[in-house]
């Protein structure tokens, strides 16, 4: 059973629809009790960094989620679900992220903000999460802040939008992507399927 964290901000229908389409059992996690019988967690979402932390704390989910991550249990962070794994964000000064990895989210400076649309990823470190059949794979991106991290070994792929930044990260059973696999057509569905197979 996949638990989708619902912190009351993001649009969860897309990820739910995608998992249903792939025949992957899932349900929403809205409070501490929601973690029961959950094997994998997806933290999806478009939303704001600060508001998400506040809402997760209020719902009593934050502590459980941190335990989950520290225990290296299967996790897929999408968009904000990637950003929250790090220490901080220019979007919400003074608010701590999960701090699982070192790094900070910075606002794009040079290009149009937000980045909206299909961009490609350049694989830095081969991983079974990627469908190796194609050289170039495009995913749908939608964000204003990008990751700046000194932890080079967790970066699986990078993307260029004015700057080159990490777009896929992984350590152990924790995966996170800056793009939206649930909105990236077949490439995205393939990635979701691979993640479930992997962990």
């Amino acid at each position: 059973m996949i638990g989708i964290i619902d912190y009351g901000a993001g649009n969860l229908h897309s990820i739910k629809n995608a998992l249903n389409y792939l025949g992957l059992k899932n349900r929403l996690i809205r409070d501490e009790d929601g973690f029961k019988n959950i094997e994998r967690i997806i933290l999806p979402g478009v939303g704001a960094f600060g508001a998400a932390i506040t809402k997760l704390r209020k719902a009593g989910i934050l502590e459980r989620l941190l335990e989950w991550l520290r225990g290296d249990k299967p996790y897929l962070g999408i968009c904000l679900g990637l950003q929250l794994l790090f220490e901080s964000s220019e979007e919400a000064e003074g608010i701590n992220g999960f701090g699982i990895f070192k790094g900070r989210m910075k606002r794009f400076l040079t290009s149009k903000i937000p980045q909206i649309g299909w961009n490609s990823i350049e694989v830095i470190k081969p991983s079974p999460i990627f469908n190796s059949q194609r050289k170039k794979v495009y995913f749908y991106f939608l964000h204003s802040y990008y990751l700046d991290t000194p932890e080079k070994d967790i970066v699986l792929a990078r993307t260029v939008y004015g700057v080159s930044y990490p777009s896929v990260i992984n350590k152990g059973n924790i995966y996170a992507v800056q793009f939206h696999p649930e909105k990236s057509g077949k490439a995205g569905l393939d990635l979701l399927k691979k993640w479930v197979e992997l962990c």
Binding site: Y21, K112, G117, N119, Y138
Partner: protein
């Protein structure tokens, strides 16, 4: 690098796609789900559904359409037409839309942009501008191009950006349905006035014109309706052409 988006637009009336769509050997006429799947398979980067249903009570049909399409097609879905308040936006997003396109509702109540962006995020709020040339400038039109608001398009686009709009869908009323080509000048002035992405709309009739509005109008995306529906050319043809011209497209 970010690619240029090719976006088919489907007009939906009471749950059925209207504007005669001629697909030989393809029994999809009128069925929004099959058409969405068809364009998805063709490589569409996003889909826009425009609800043209006149009567308010029948507008539930678009919700059902979005609901059904979102269960089968996994690319961004934008829905426009008749959106007046937060309740309308919420209903569409809850049904599975990723974005809403607002025209008249935003001109008459600009606060809707700010509120919508605050509650759902800027990325959800696409402001649709129906522009027509009046003398030396462009005016915003409302009510499906029937009312000249006398509001300057460039000023309005800037205002929308300030209020929190995530994208601008820029439709040239002068070119709409003419297949004479996009209004490059209009696209260029609006595109350079704001930092948010511009979707050029109205007038697509040839591959060259699509290239021109990207290259010279600085469009971030192009919307196509009749030219695709009537199979003047296909999405793979557009992408092949653009690729040859060194425009980045999802391939």
């Amino acid at each position: 690098m970010l690619t240029i988006r090719i976006i088919p637009c489907l007009d939906v009336d009471k749950g059925k796609v209207v504007k005669g769509i001629r697909f030989r050997n393809l029994n999809v006429a009128g069925d929004p789900i099959k058409l969405a799947q068809y364009y998805n398979d063709q490589g569409a980067d996003e889909l826009i559904f425009l609800d043209v249903t006149a009567s308010v009570e029948k507008r539930k049909a678009i919700i059902d359409v979005v609901n059904a399409v979102a269960k089968k097609v996994f690319i961004p879905l934008c829905v426009g037409g008749g959106i007046r308040d937060i309740k309308d936006i919420r209903a569409l997003l809850n049904a599975g839309a990723d974005k809403v396109a607002i025209c008249t509702g935003a001109v008459e109540n600009p606060e809707l942009i700010r509120e919508g962006a605050r509650i759902f995020g800027s990325q959800c709020i696409v402001i649709s501008i129906d522009a027509a040339r009046v003398g030396d400038e462009w005016h915003c039109y409302t009510y499906g191009g029937r009312v000249d608001t006398k509001i300057d398009v460039i000023e309005w686009a800037k205002r929308c950006e300030e209020l929190g709009a995530g994208e601008i869908l820029l439709n040239s009323i002068d070119r709409d349905g003419t297949q004479m080509g996009y209004d490059i000048e209009l696209t260029k002035v609006v595109s350079s006035a704001v930092k948010i992405p511009i979707i050029a709309s109205g007038g697509a009739g040839s591959l060259k014109q699509i290239y021109n509005v990207i290259k010279y109008g600085n469009a971030d995306a192009v919307l196509l309706a009749s030219a695709l529906h009537y199979k003047k050319f296909t999405i793979p043809q557009i992408k092949r052409f653009l690729r040859k011209k060194k425009v980045r497209v999802r391939w």
